[in-house]
């Protein structure tokens, strides 16, 4: 049994950690939080130079053709550092959708640009404050154009193109590639709970669209993209959970009340122990997800949902209890606690809510048992 990352993968982790510590400290994240820029340019450029965008893209499309375990390692470090970059939209979602469903021509056209970081991609699914599904999807596709509004779209204000879920007649839906700089597209940045990751509202008015994958298979395709992305986002969540736990632990050691470190109060110790337990279980489930993703195992739907659910819960718990551990300081804009809290919520809804993933997990178990 070997259920750990290899020495080479851990070396990659160390490189990622030192790059991010230097280029993307929390002060850089905060600049995006307080400022107007959609992402941190220096971090994004550095990541591209290090070849991160090319990691899992096959060599035939000018990627490095490493593997998903390497991508998981990077995801964890990006999550830990809260890196404000469009990496996840472009790579976990955009590149994966094209790898899964693109025609050879589409792959050759888009993947090299994504690998080189020349283009940013994103996935446009959400339509406001309720889940999108077969009975609620307003964006319409007719012949080769689409019409409708997508909000919020992560990195929608900076992406070159989006993969858009739109419905046809009856209740079928498909995925379409839309050039966001093309005709019929207007977009604007929207306010979100986590300003360190830029989001947009995108209006499509008869925007030219190119079918991706099989017509009528939009929801099925989307789920497959989500299963893969869920594992990668779960690593980001575990990285974030660990960072929030470490921050809470460090503060509990240094802050004194009643003549003793607050970390000697059992209510605080047990809180931190519970954060550790949640993070450990989530991390182990992530490893299972990484294994399933990297080997193409048929268990992927179960492994992805398990990783997603436990990492979502772990990050939320660690982020909120880290604030609690900091007392009043934790509630200030100036302290960094809220950056984890915001990111945790973003990552807990970006691929659909926790209740929906729990339901999906049980459905996947049912399907596996029926098979």
């Amino acid at each position: 049994m070997n259920f750990e990352f290899s020495d080479e993968q851990n070396l990659l982790r160390e490189q990622a950690q030192s790059f991010l510590a230097k280029t993307c400290p929390l002060s850089a994240v905060r600049k995006v939080l307080d400022g107007k820029q959609p992402f941190d340019e220096a971090t994004w450029r550095g990541m591209i130079q290090l070849g991160w965008t090319a990691t899992a893209i096959p060599e035939q499309y000018e990627g490095l053709g490493l593997g998903y375990l390497e991508l998981c390692v990077l995801a964890e470090e990006l999550g830990r550092s809260l890196a404000p970059t469009p990496f996840s939209s472009s790579i976990y979602l955009g590149a994966e959708a094209i790898l899964l469903f693109g025609s050879p021509a589409q792959k050759s056209r888009y993947l090299p640009k994504l690998a080189a970081g020349e283009w940013i991609a994103t996935l446009a699914v959400g339509e406001g404050a309720a889940p999108v599904g077969p009975t609620r999807l307003r964006t319409k596709a007719t012949a080769d154009t689409i019409k409708g509004t997508k909000i919020p779209v992560a990195d929608g204000d900076v992406a070159e193109f989006a993969i858009v879920l739109a419905k046809e007649e009856k209740r079928t839906a498909s995925l379409y590639i839309v050039d966001l700089n093309g005709t019929g597209v207007t977009r604007k940045t929207v306010a979100t709970l986590d300003p360190t990751r830029s989001h947009a509202e995108i209006r499509f008015k008869d925007a030219p669209a190119e079918l991706l994958g099989t017509r009528g298979q939009g929801f099925e395709h989307l789920q497959q993209v989500f299963d893969r992305a869920a594992v990668l986002f779960a690593f980001e969540q575990v990285g974030g959970a660990q960072a929030a736990l470490d921050m809470g632990r460090d503060y509990a050691l240094g802050r004194y009340a009643f003549g003793r470190p607050i970390g000697s109060f059992q209510a605080i110790k047990h809180k931190l122990a519970d954060m550790y337990i949640a993070t450990t279980l989530a991390r182990s489930n992530c490893y299972y997800g990484a294994w399933a993703l990297s080997t193409g195992a048929k268990e992927l739907p179960i492994a992805a949902a398990t990783a997603r659910v436990s990492a979502t819960e772990a990050f939320h718990e660690c982020a909120k209890e880290n604030i609690q551990t900091h007392g009043g300081m934790g509630f200030t804009w100036e302290f960094d606690c809220h950056m984890y809290y915001r990111r945790a919520k973003l990552l807990s809804v970006n691929l659909g809510s926790l209740p929906r993933w729990k339901d999906r997990l049980v459905s996947s178990i049912e399907a596996a048992r029926a098979a």
Binding site: M1, N2, F3, E4, F5, S6, L69, R249, A252, L253, R260, P261, G263, S264, Q266, I268, K269, H270, L272, A273, D274, Y276, I277, T280, L281, A282, S284, N285, Y287, Y288, A290, W291, S294, A305, T306, V309, S310, E313, P355, W357, K358, D359, L361, V362, I365, E366
Partner: protein, 405 residues
């Protein structure tokens, strides 16, 4: 990342499996109305057969009845043996905690005399630690040991001693000097449970059984040669036992995800399986994630072992998580049975009494071998590096410590 055995591990697993497949089925599963004595007897036969074939106490040296196996081989054996429902319970404390303590502290002659009989199940050992005044705070124990020539005279009471009523030997921690601070005045022994002056009284548990006991000591004489560690060093020796306890107590077992899933699939609410109910699905998802998280945490521990690293106190999470899960699954299973959830008759409820036994057994599991709270302290202190609890009894002579009584 893979789940595969190395070639040597695979060969070892095949060997273990061949032995188990050929022999285990005969020892599996209680006959109806089997008494505890019959259960223990069945266990002794199985343990003896294992020892005769080199499958007992795998990681102990050969001369003490073991096999000199690697930690990885022990894990493989445990995985394979647990595929069968075998009567191994009566030996868990002896082989998991008493044996390793003897290996660390007994003389060579004592090890050669006692360990092989322990390994072959001929004698059963128990752990005489907890007392009415010392459970979580074990070092508050009061059972007195007074030196008398080559012997010690022991008076006092132990409690919650699992299996004392069928044990032949026990490991015992006593107070030899009450004028020292509490951790300093302890001395550790092993003791013949058939010694004059030892009286064992079973205690009936929530679950109806009586597996643990009160053990009274009245002028019990223990040879000084049966002392483990120096006089006053009993705490350090106890720590050895407790470290092994952390390794020995693991997953709570009982009805788990598969059982509650099957129950939810079979019970109908208004004509639809309970499994279709969103509230039920949400709980199932949570338990699945916990069970899966524990399973793969364990795989990570095994991976570390397989590379020759020693697992740390991280292991404590298995018991913390699985004991509460066992309790919640038991309770929720009964809820699914609705008004019938109160029935205690195996013929009238699904799944035998699995959920009832979870419900009644889990409270004990959350306490035995370190309570939920103590294990959280351990995680906080040893894993996260937080300060120990501030103790009001620190440095005070034991006989001046407040006791609340």
């Amino acid at each position: 990342m893979n789940f595969n055995d190395t070639p040597q591990e695979a060969a070892f697993r095949a060997e273990a499996r061949a032995f188990l497949d050929a022999n285990a089925p005969k020892y599996v599963a209680a006959r109806r109305n089997e008494t505890e004595a019959q259960y223990v007897a069945r266990g002794k036969q199985w343990q003896k057969l294992k020892a005769e074939n080199g499958w007992a106490c795998l990681n102990w040296p050969k001369e003490y009845g073991g096999r000199g196996a690697t930690p990885m081989e022990l894990i493989i054996w445990n995985q394979e043996e647990s595929r069968y429902d075998l009567p191994v319970g009566p030996f868990a404390i002896g082989l998991g905690m008493c044996g390793p303590t003897m290996i660390a502290y007994a003389t060579e002659a004592q090890k050669r005399e006692h360990l092989p009989k322990m390994a072959s199940g001929e004698v059963i050992w128990c752990q005489l630690f907890s007392e009415p005044a010392g459970g979580s705070d074990l070092a508050a124990l009061r059972t007195r040991a007074v030196k008398d020539g080559d012997e010690w005279i022991v008076n006092g009471q132990k409690i919650w001693t699992s299996g004392a009523h069928y044990s032949d030997w026990g490991i015992l921690v006593t107070r030899s000097d009450p004028s020292l601070p509490k951790h300093k005045g302890l001395t550790f022994f092993f003791v013949d449970m058939h010694s004059p002056g030892i009286e064992v009284k079973p205690i009936k548990q929530i679950s109806g059984g009586a597996n643990f006991n009160e053990v009274y000591f009245t002028d019990v004489r223990i040879p000084d040669a049966q002392r483990l560690g120096a006089v006053g060093q009993g705490w350090q020796v106890s720590i050895t036992t407790l470290m092994n306890e952390r390794l020995a107590v693991g997953n709570a077992g009982g009805a788990d995800f598969d059982e509650i899933y099957d129950l939810a699939a079979s019970i109908k609410i208004d004509g639809k399986p309970a499994l279709a109910n969103p509230a039920v699905r949400e709980k199932l998802a949570d338990w699945y994630c916990q069970a899966s998280g524990l399973k793969f945490t364990n795989y990570r521990v095994i991976s570390a072992l397989s590379r020759g690293q020693t697992p740390g106190p991280e292991n404590s999470i298995t018991k913390v998580v699985s004991a509460v899960k066992q309790q919640d699954i038991g309770s929720f299973g009964l809820d699914l049975m609705d008004m019938g959830g109160i029935l205690m008759d195996a013929k009238k409820v699904p799944a035998g009494l699995a959920f009832q036994m979870n419900f009644l057994g889990a409270p004990g599991y959350r306490i035995a071998g370190g309570t939920d709270e103590i294990l959280r302290n351990i995680i906080a202190e040893r894993v996260l590096g937080l300060p120990p609890d501030i103790r009001v009894d620190k440095g005070i002579p034991f006989n001046e410590v407040p006791t609340g009584s």
